[in-house]
């Protein structure tokens, strides 16, 4: 009875968690865009006048965007109004126009209708998260700007589209440009490092301790220490990584390689303990069968015991990895809590991790980051669930093959 109640309470809190995260984060997967008629005049975008790539790259596209907004919403001659007007459009708009023109230079001299991202404040208004009844202190737009957005919407120039920036970009100070890619890459690199290091080392240690090590005081000591290591707070591992990998071995700061090494150390005890349990669970009759046929100890362990224990070992390892990927504290100590706008290209590039990204966005005062924080949580949870699913499938596969 109490057990059932406990399960229900657990399920309910999980449900509440999911509903909050999804309802908050789902908005961040869509981004408001505005369609602006851009007059791509040679005078503005082709300063050298030769139509070359270099010349087009140096053009003043922001001016084109400004002009386009002003054309759409005429009658704003006040300086302050102009500033408010340009505040509707993301700084990304100029870059997008530039990329478009460089890709297709024949557009110079034409009028181009181009969808460009709106600023995050407009996005919040279009989503209905702020409005005219929102206290002025809690909103970035004034009533005039709301009116302009409504006017654009009436002209079918406002749309919400899939937010590619969230998937394609690194971190940014502008919420509408901020993405999780750098953090996602960082997490993947760390996962790869863990997979390469912690899994084989952990399984090898478990096999040795369970099958080959003599039972004496030394192995007892090792066993106790493995259990102790599993209970060490994760931030201590971060400190260890700082001292050993960065100070002694001079590995770069903020690198996923170091993060992966630290997380590998963190998961090692978990992997060893679960792998030993899985090996211990292999029935003794199977060992006897192989040994009685004249198989050596090594043949028995690697030919029969280990394949039989593998599903359990994999499950344990994936749970360990998933937990490690959700760790923030140890990364704090090795400089992976940083503002990373560039996508890392390798495990030595400065990077961050998904949980760290969540933490950083959660700290941001900009209301548009609230939804993005939830979106980053959704991405993190999706990664972890995918890993667990993969583990279950691998396990099924091995179990079927093992009969």
């Amino acid at each position: 009875m109490f057990g059932l109640a406990a399960v229900l309470v657990g399920m309910l809190s999980l449900l509440v968690l999911f509903v909050t995260v999804v309802s908050q984060g789902v908005g961040a997967f869509r981004q408001t865009e505005l369609m602006l008629p851009m007059d791509v005049t040679a005078a503005k975008v082709d300063p050298l006048g030769d139509g070359s790539r270099e010349s087009l790259a140096a053009g003043d596209y922001d001016a084109v965007v400004r002009e386009a907004v002003q054309r759409l919403l005429p009658g704003t001659t006040l300086r302050a109004d102009r500033a408010a007007l340009i505040g509707l459009v993301s700084v990304e708009a100029g870059f997008r126009l530039r990329d478009r023109v460089i890709a297709a230079p024949e557009l110079v001299g034409q009028r181009v209708e181009l969808w460009v991202p709106a600023s995050d404040a407009v996005d919040l208004y279009v989503q209905g998260r702020v409005g005219r009844d929102t206290p002025v202190a809690a909103r970035e737009l004034n009533d005039q700007q709301f009116y302009w957005v409504d006017a654009l919407a009436a002209d079918a120039r406002v749309a919400r589209v899939f937010n590619t920036a969230l998937i394609k970009n690194g971190d940014s100070r502008n919420p509408e440009l901020a993405g999780v890619r750098a953090a996602f890459r960082g997490s993947l690199y760390m996962l790869a490092v863990m997979l390469v290091l912690a899994f084989p080392v952990g399984v090898a240690a478990a096999v040795y301790l369970e099958e080959f090590a003599p039972r004496n005081r030394w192995t007892d000591l090792i066993e106790i220490n493995i259990s102790n290591l599993a209970a060490v707070p994760s931030i201590v591992y971060g400190l260890l990584g700082l001292v050993v990998f960065i100070n002694w071995l001079s590995l770069p700061r903020s690198a996923p390689l170091v993060g992966g090494l630290v997380l590998a150390l963190l998961t090692l005890p978990v992997i060893i303990i679960s792998a030993r349990a899985a090996i211990k669970a292999v029935p003794v009759t199977l060992r006897d069968a192989a040994l009685a046929l004249g198989a050596s100890r090594v043949q028995t362990v690697f030919g029969h015991v280990l394949p039989q224990a593998l599903p359990g070992i994999i499950t344990g390892a994936v749970i360990g990895f998933a937990r490690a990927l959700g760790e923030t504290a140890p990364l704090l100590m090795i400089g992976m809590v940083a503002f990373i706008a560039d996508i890392p290209r390798g495990p030595l590039d400065p990077s961050t991790a998904l949980p760290v990204q969540v933490y950083q966005w959660a700290e941001s005062p900009d209301p548009a980051f609230v939804a993005r924080t939830a979106a980053a949580i959704i991405v993190l949870l999706t990664l972890l669930f995918t890993m667990n699913l993969l583990a279950v499938m691998l396990r099924r596969n091995f179990e079927r093959r093992a009969g």
Partner: protein, 281 residues
Amino acid sequence: MAAVTPHSKPGDAAAAELPDTGAVGAPFVEGPCIRVRDVSVHYGGTPVLHNVSLDVAHDEALALIGASGSGKSTFLRCFNRMNDTIDDARVSGQIHIDDDNVHGRDMDVVALRARVGMVFQKPNPFPKSIYDNVAYGPRIHGLAGNRAELDDIVHQCLDRVGLLAEVKDRLEASGTSLSDGQQQRLCIARTLAVGPEVILMDEPCSALDPIATARIEDLIDALRERYAIVIVTHSMQQAARVSQRTAFFHQGQLIEVDETDRLFTNPSHRLTEDYITGRLG
């Protein structure tokens, strides 16, 4: 060779001119396949088998009977040194198979276990295909030069245990998909595949139904012509049906060894009589 221990006092001196075994009846035979002399086993500090001596002839099935904990399984596991896998087990005394000392320094355990096969209480096929189950032994011992030879060995061994007709269309099916009785015959086929001289069976029918049991017993009778068989059993009927000689163990001591017929009809030792009449154990 063996000293008389205070534990093993024979009822009468039946085997006067042969080494003193402590057991009554006829523990020794002419030209034995296996000679066991004075074997004791300790687990940790606890003695579980005291000074056992007996012979096993070629082409005979020797049944080991006795209550649970009487040491007969422990004794069986001395022949192929399976007691090595138990950390604190210590075996003393000597076992010779065709004059090779089982516990000698120069004895290779891998080679020994190829010569002395073992079938366990619970059918324990590998979680692999039927084919691979039988082929595993020949593969690790390098008994087959090519695939055709291996196929031959597998088919022959499955045929000898009467399994070939039942499984020949599904050799790739998992060994664990067979019925219990078939699994046990598969385990016997697997043992035969490495070409042993001796086959040890540790209560091979205790997990099987009567029909499967009858098939295994017939098989034991057929195998006896080519292999020395030592079988531990809890069923005295089974011992009577399949064995030529029977050894009775009681509390770690070998009490009596004799022709199976004589032991069951006219036991020499009080304890044997009590056990087979159900007053003991």
